[in-house]
Symmetry: C2
Subunit: 87 residues, 2 copies
């Protein structure tokens, strides 16, 4: 399945969360990830995310689509993923 | 059509962009919006967004789906939209 993940995480936990999410998905902007993922891997990723986040302060939103073709993506301005390798 | 909009905007421009996007979409997290919008209103919104942003530094990503039902949304942790009225 295709997912978009966005998070809003306290500064202390954000580096850890970024590293965690990048194991499973493509980082496309500041706190936004996307990619194809299996149900099993998604569960694993969310379990890890819950362990990192403070569920009373932080927020993770996940949009799931059975098919990437159902979504069109448009980027305006800078493409952050282009500078992914420099960070 | 149903859209998800995420931005990564320089601090100086972020308040203006937030205000602009909220005219058209529902704010669901820090820099994330979603909602139903017509093609005409979307064009209007993007024209306004381009006027606010610095296209060499800032980034706006738009995911478009013809139907909201093609996407499942899952929220983990805090629901920011609940505190929307206090801001």
């Amino acid at each position: 399945m295709y997912v978009i993940l966005v998070y809003d995480i306290g500064e202390k936990r954000v580096a850890k969360m970024l590293k965690h999410c990048r194991k499973y998905l493509n980082w496309i902007q500041n706190s936004v990830f996307e990619g194809e993922i299996t149900e099993v891997k998604l569960k694993e990723m969310l379990m890890g995310a819950r362990a990192i986040m403070n569920e009373e302060q932080d927020s993770v939103i996940l949009f799931k689509s059975r098919n990437e073709r159902w979504l069109d993506k448009e980027i305006i301005g800078v493409e952050r993923s282009n500078i992914d390798n420099f960070l």
